[in-house]
Subunit: 177 residues, 2 copies
Amino acid sequence: MSARPPRKSPASKSVGDDFQAIFREATQADLAAIVDLLADDTLGASRERPGEPLDRAYVEAYDAIERDPNNELIVVDTGGELGGVMQLTFIPYLSHTGAWRCLIEGVRIARSYRGQGLGGEMIRWAIERARQRRCRLVQLTSDKQRPDALRFYGALGFVASHEGFKLKLDLADDRDR
Amino acid sequence: MSARPPRKSPASKSVGDDFQAIFREATQADLAAIVDLLADDTLGASRERPGEPLDRAYVEAYDAIERDPNNELIVVDTGGELGGVMQLTFIPYLSHTGAWRCLIEGVRIARSYRGQGLGGEMIRWAIERARQRRCRLVQLTSDKQRPDALRFYGALGFVASHEGFKLKLDLADDRDR
């Protein structure tokens, strides 16, 4: 962790007056719970492989995120349980007179914590973290099949100024996995 | 450069039968020409500061990109001139059973090279590079104010499945810059 920039101290905060939530970076001990969270989702159900033993691809991906000082996997620790997860990627760009951006991806909230304002807390935390990292822009894409999420980001001040394009690639050895 | 993964050998290829184009990583010697390219654009004109001496924020951003093994600033060298530029960011994610993605950003084509198929060559090159880096998804956002670009990415097989949200941040010392 020594190569990483200084971190914000974990903040204990009340969310929705119902529980205390600590925002912190994920550790490998969180990995199985994070995968369960990714899988417990309409779109994620078909594309994740939860359960033990954990697919080694998850461990490799976690290690790559952990090694990279410009990627932070953030979990909301509600005291032993995971309330939510998101990944922040900090990217240096030449455009906008040389500006860093923060890309938010993979925002997921545990079923039992939905509808209590935790999502808003997470995005506000991410915006604050982006400011600490000197970003001038926070960006994310949200699936058009998630109308509630689209309204949610709009209400937080995000502007849907762009189309989000995706192209899936088939890798040659996909059949072996 | 030793920390970076193996690179594809620069490929000399004919684009539109009119000129030879070599795709390669940018060097610091390209920086002023790249900034000129970013500024020579409807949306970029107001947000870039081209000209000598180059704003040090560009040099700092270039250095950050160059240091990061997961960021590649690619230029199209047409023999002394820059035909185009784009930035590729490779990001490890847990979702999709632990998959890397390639994010394409800042695609710009020099005015004198537009309408000759160079943009398509650049995106196809980026897709091939994403495959080499074991990515399962290539993604990008395109401003809704650029209808030609939206059609262009659709024609290349990208699906506009997501809304692209942006939130601008004002940094405390922006007045000093």
